[in-house]
């Protein structure tokens, strides 16, 4: 109790020095908490932006000649539609957002178009419900690519006949500069009817989870077990872009936090050293009165711990407030998900005093090893 009293009185006596240290901890913790909050938001934002790049996995029937596939943009073989359900209902898969498709090049109105049937996206059974990545087309409706939409009479709400089946144009797609511009998208079951391929698909698109440890060979092994007779291809550009961008965001935050922690610790150590210098006589007299090394060290480490604790407390709320204020403006897609990082509150309260104590360790050792006789003889 007396140690605490000594500690508090000393802090009160030399408050400017303590305040400067406290300010450093507040700044460091606020920056860490702010960056963590923004980092999480940025991670979500990047994830969303990257997800918008499209699927990064393609599952096609085994034996598909990928050279032909890339030329034609669809697999010549087919596989059962129920595969997509089986995949989605298998727990522990390293992928999500499964979309079954059936595509064929067909002649329509005297031109070649890619007729693409899409089944509404299925989420993995053990994944959180997420917004679909691709189109979700109702039966009897279709979306037409930009090149096709330029043809006269293709208007939203109008009906077009595709190889004997009437489909209502629900949407005209914007120019994409890819084969999407010559596609007609419809519900999978409508396209199966048109192509007389009931219950068949020729590809499943999916999103490979890029979380730690989710490697492609592992995923391929999983899929081979669940869907024998299929072949998995990674759309490397999209996957690499996703992975690299996420890593970059994470590394940025880690680097900044590390630099801030080192600078803050150095500042606390410097202030603690000044404090030891200023208190040489006091240490000498405490020694002369019979106070041991433990008591003396406790005074300096206790000061640092208190500084860390108060700084962490204030820094957490300052950092959170700043992040909550500016976060929503910075992250347009995921602004609603910018939340106070309460899960790091307790760890911050524990780690900040620990780092402050470690920073004050050397000055405390200097204080302990100071010869009281030398100080007490100085006049």
């Amino acid at each position: 109790m007396w140690s605490l009293r000594l500690l508090l009185r000393e802090i009160g006596h030399r408050f400017p020095g303590f305040f400067l240290g406290l300010l450093a901890v507040v700044a460091a913790v606020a920056l860490y908490v702010g960056l963590e909050t923004m980092g999480r938001a940025s991670y979500r934002e990047t994830k969303r932006l990257m997800r918008n790049l499209g699927f990064n996995l393609l599952i096609v029937p085994e034996g598909t000649d990928m050279a032909d596939f890339w030329t034609a943009d669809f697999a010549s073989g087919d596989m059962p539609e129920q595969y997509v359900r089986r995949l989605a209902e298998t727990p522990g898969m390293l992928a999500d957002h499964y979309v079954a498709t059936l595509q064929k090049k067909v002649l329509w109105e005297g031109r070649e178009v890619l007729l693409t049937g899409i089944l509404p996206e299925r989420s993995a059974i053990d994944a959180r419900k997420k917004a679909p990545m691709g189109y979700s087309i109702a039966r009897g409706e279709c979306y037409v690519g930009y090149a096709i939409a330029k043809s006269p009479g293709i208007e939203p709400g109008k009906t077009i006949n595709v190889l004997g089946k009437d489909l209502t144009v629900a949407r005209r797609l914007l120019e994409d500069g890819s084969k999407q511009d010559i596609r007609i998208y419809a519900h999978l079951h409508d396209v199966q009817d048109i192509l007389d391929m009931k219950g068949r698909i020729n590809a499943i698109e999916a999103l490979h989870c890029l979380c730690a440890g989710a490697s492609l060979p592992d995923l391929k092994q999983q899929i081979a077990k669940v869907l024998p007779g299929t072949h998995v291809t990674e759309l490397r550009d999209i996957a690499a872009a996703r992975s690299e961008t996420r890593k970059m965001v994470e590394q940025h935050v880690e680097l900044i936090v590390a630099v801030v922690l080192v600078v803050c610790a150095a500042w606390i150590a410097f202030l603690a050293l000044l404090n030891v210098r200023e208190r040489r006589q006091e240490i000498g007299i405490l020694r002369a009165l019979g106070f041991g090394s433990g008591h003396i060290a406790a005074l300096f480490l206790g000061r640092a711990i208190l500084m860390g604790l108060l700084g962490a407390l204030a820094g957490f709320f300052v950092g959170t407030a700043v992040a909550m204020h500016y976060g929503p403006d910075m992250f347009k897609l995921t602004f609603s998900a910018v939340r106070p990082p309460y899960d790091i509150f307790i760890p911050t309260l524990l780690v900040a005093p620990l780092i402050a104590a470690l920073a004050a360790m050397l000055p405390a050792v200097i204080a302990i090893s100071q010869d009281p006789a030398v100080v007490l003889r100085e006049e």
């Binding site: 009293r5 000594l6 009185r9 009160g12 006596h13 006589q281 009165l289 019979g290 041991g292």
Partner: protein, 224 residues
């Protein structure tokens, strides 16, 4: 009973031009209840001797027995504890803790002893020193005389058997000096042992014996 027994006490410091002898073969016995003065020119080793008796300067050779304890044969922690329980120390520069009140400064040594902190004893002691009005004041708000009175009260609060004082009146005017020596004499009259390093001639009124140091050696023993 002998309170202090110094046997061939030597303290050498290593210097660039060889060893510097701060204390050389000092032999001294101080019986319980004695008021002893140590005199000597500056640099003669008086303060070193006092701090060695207090257990704060480890001698190079010799024995330092205080209250029947060879104080350098025990651990640092035991020595610190021994000091808190047996020795009171008064310095020329007072060395009060600047951020504690007068009362807290005096009660500070009692923190180290078992049992409750003796604030009431500190209060009574300060009252007997005429400091009742100053209990909540900080050292910076006191006169030099009041500071030294506080320092003496702090040295006495744990009821030590031995009081060591290093130039306790070096910064005081004659009136305050006399008052401080009166307090030391009171402690002595109650059976305490006092060892004072001083140049102040006032001490002759109280000292029973005076010894002199020159170049770290005890050169004379004279009756007070």
């Amino acid at each position: 009973m002998t309170v202090i027994h110094l046997h061939n006490l030597t303290k050498r410091y290593r210097g660039r031009r060889g060893d510097i002898i701060a204390l050389g073969d000092v032999n001294l016995c101080v019986p319980e209840g004695e008021f002893l003065t140590i005199r000597g020119p500056s640099g003669s080793g008086k303060s070193t001797l006092l701090l060695t008796i207090a257990g704060m300067i480890h001698p190079t050779d010799g024995k330092t027995v205080v209250n029947s304890t060879d104080i350098y044969a025990v651990s640092g922690r035991q020595r610190a504890r021994f000091r808190a329980e047996n020795i009171g120390f008064v310095f020329q520069m007072f060395h009060l803790v600047p951020y504690l009140s007068v009362l807290d400064n005096v009660a500070l040594p009692t923190v180290l002893l078992p049992g409750r902190i003796r604030s009431h004893e500190a209060r009574e002691l300060l009252a007997s020193f005429g400091m009742s009005e100053r209990l909540t004041h900080k050292p910076a708000e006191l006169s030099t005389g009041e500071r030294q009175r506080t320092a003496v009260a702090r040295a006495l609060v744990n009821h030590p058997r031995l009081l060591l004082a290093d130039e306790p009146t070096g910064n005081l005017d004659p009136d305050n000096s006399a008052q401080i020596f009166e307090y030391l004499a009171d402690f002595h009259h109650q059976g305490g042992t006092v060892v004072v390093v001083t140049h102040d001639p006032l001490v002759e009124r109280y000292a029973q014996r005076t010894v002199s140091l020159a170049a770290g050696r005890l050169i004379s023993k004279e009756a007070g």
